[in-house]
Symmetry: C2
Subunit: 201 residues, 2 copies
């Protein structure tokens, strides 16, 4: 799977940028945006506090770059999983699997994206929230199509989509690397649960 580090690699950002970026992900996920000092980020990156401002205009911009690139990556992975050649049930399983695995493998990043966005400027928040809604839309479309073909029996499409997303996203709340269950096992469990929720025949 494409990783967050891989995404940063792809863009050929300077080494200092990458180190600050990754240090910030760790710090924000553990202590929250406001609970993290620029000194702490710099310290984790092994650099001076001033070095942060060479690569980012402000602490808020660091959060914005993290959220924005993480959601770009999520969308890319989800879109790839929603293979039009598959029937709705196969597509739902595939999307739930990658979404779950993403929130397990990148649980630190996901916690930042899910719970720190209120620290963004209104403009950045608007932009980032739109990307989040895109993910919801993909899931909802799959369920709607399954219902229209008669493959799914969900009475409430939006409700089933919300429940399905809850399963995937909440993984970021409780999963930690090294957990008893592997991300793949959790993904399989969630894919199965999602099929049951939508009433797949």
């Amino acid at each position: 799977m494409l990783t967050l580090a891989g995404l940063i690699e792809r863009h050929r950002f300077p080494d200092g940028y990458r180190r600050m970026f990754l240090a910030a992900v760790g710090a924000f996920s553990e202590r929250g945006f406001h609970g993290t000092t620029t000194r702490e980020i710099a310290s984790r990156a092994g650099m001076s506090p001033a070095a942060l401002y060479v690569h980012f205009g402000s602490k808020e911009e660091v959060l914005y770059r993290i959220a924005s690139s993480a959601l770009d990556l999520t969308l890319e992975v989800v879109s790839e999983a929603a293979d039009p050649a598959l029937p709705p049930s196969g597509r739902l399983q595939s999307v739930v699997r990658v979404l779950t695995a993403w929130h397990a493998y990148h649980s630190a990043t996901a916690r930042v994206v899910l719970h720190q966005l209120d620290a963004l400027t209104p403009e950045h928040l608007t932009e980032v929230a739109a990307k989040q809604r895109e993910v919801t839309r993909v899931v909802r479309r799959i369920i709607a199509e399954g219902v229209s073909t008669g493959e799914f029996a969900a009475a409430d499409i939006a409700g089933a989509a919300t429940a399905t997303l809850s399963l995937c996203l909440d993984v970021a709340r409780w999963y930690r690397p090294g957990d008893r269950r592997t991300p793949e096992e959790i993904s399989a469990l969630n894919a199965d649960a999602a099929l049951r929720i939508v009433g797949a025949r």
Copy 2:
């Protein structure tokens, strides 16, 4: 249902205490613990910053009191819903319903409890985390009993409990008062989804 304001009422806390407490819940849920200043809490409570320290020893103690009393209330409501006279399926439905409704009606409080606890002292965190595990235990016990009676067909009891809790707790992430769906409608949807997840016959 028993409300948070009701719990505070029951304890006959001084008026200033209550106002600070409720102001802090609102502020912490919107801006996070570290993003909230003691001046902001006091301002929302219509009091001076110094007044906070008459009722609480520190800002951290405010968070601790909120988390502790909210979880006490959650446990009380959940325990009541887990009526031993009901069969496992009835008990699961009942517990999922109240847990979902709780996270909708008290979504602000729930967001604080779910995502701000890292700001607690280690001692307070240990105590509060134990209360959280109690809730998990109640759900897991119901599912285990349903499986042992043959009423449920879940192959993975802990996994089914985690998925069920995800449905209930994640409501606090997306639900806001005045949402299109009422807490009761969401509760019904989640109760149905939980039964499907555990494979109720």
